[in-house]
Symmetry: C2
Subunit: 137 residues, 2 copies
DNA sequence: ATACATGCAAACAATTTGCATATTA
DNA sequence: TAATATGCAAATTGTTTGCATGTAT
């Protein structure tokens, strides 16, 4: 998902495109990885003195609802990233910088048979560690 | 891990074996799946009027530290289960009752090569849904 | 002009901590 | 009795909500 798609999606659904909304999109596009509400507000405080967590959370929640962002929970905090809608995949997530790398392997095919009488509703496969950049430093 | 092993482990490390501590172990042994602090306190309140969350959390934390329990985060709440130390595996987790089923498939072998320059520190593979019991009901 | 967005303040839920007291080894 | 466990109360952290006001369409 890119900024233009996201803005169109918001407009389609009747949401307004404010400066903050655009800047949030820009932030996540540039981030290319998982970020927390705290990360985001720290960034936005530069441009928007007095911006509050409720706005942050309301927008994160909205973006998550409409599919602009996807989220995962790490150490008791929600982390968000631009949604990659193109195809099913998983992520390596850098513990240091939050950047992600797509992992094409999905183990679900192999697993199905052993869960014959179960109703599978979802799954999560994530790999954590240090990306080459953070590993080097 | 069974209750006896757990108690020995606690004693070895100089921790005391109180009635609550034993009951917590019994609870998780019987549960055979993931449970929250809330689940646990609800159960313990029957036997221990006035038991408080701080005791619950302190013990969950302790058990997690020494390896009696393992934990995962689901919907903003920590969930705990008896630690299965015997071998590496993953879990199917029932969204309804929290019971788990071991999954022997681990995708990490296939993944290694695509992360050549990364330092892998951990991974998570969980499947969510309904177990046969809850599916039937 | 009207609906949606935001700030403020306050509430919430999950979890943690300091301190005094109670209990186990 | 000496060290650990617990309860109480209060604090912390992450997140959400009601309400009045501000702003985009």
């Amino acid at each position: 998902m890119n900024i233009k798609e996201a803005i169109d999606l918001l407009k389609d659904k009747g949401y307004k495109t404010t400066g903050k909304r655009k800047d949030i999109l820009a932030y996540f596009e540039k981030a290319d990885g998982y970020r927390t509400a705290k990360d985001l507000i720290t960034y936005l405080e530069n441009s928007y003195e007095g911006i509050s967590f409720d706005t942050i959370y309301r927008n994160l929640h909205l973006y998550n609802e409409v599919g602009i962002l996807e989220s995962t929970e790490l150490n008791g905090e929600k982390h968000f990233r631009m949604n990659c809608t193109h195809h099913h995949h998983h992520h390596f997530i850098c513990n240091e910088c939050g950047k992600t790398k797509e992992i094409e392997v999905c183990p679900m095919d192999e697993v199905q048979q052993s869960l014959a009488n179960y109703a599978i509703e979802g799954h999560k496969f994530e790999i954590y560690g240090l990306c080459p950049m953070c590993k080097g430093a």
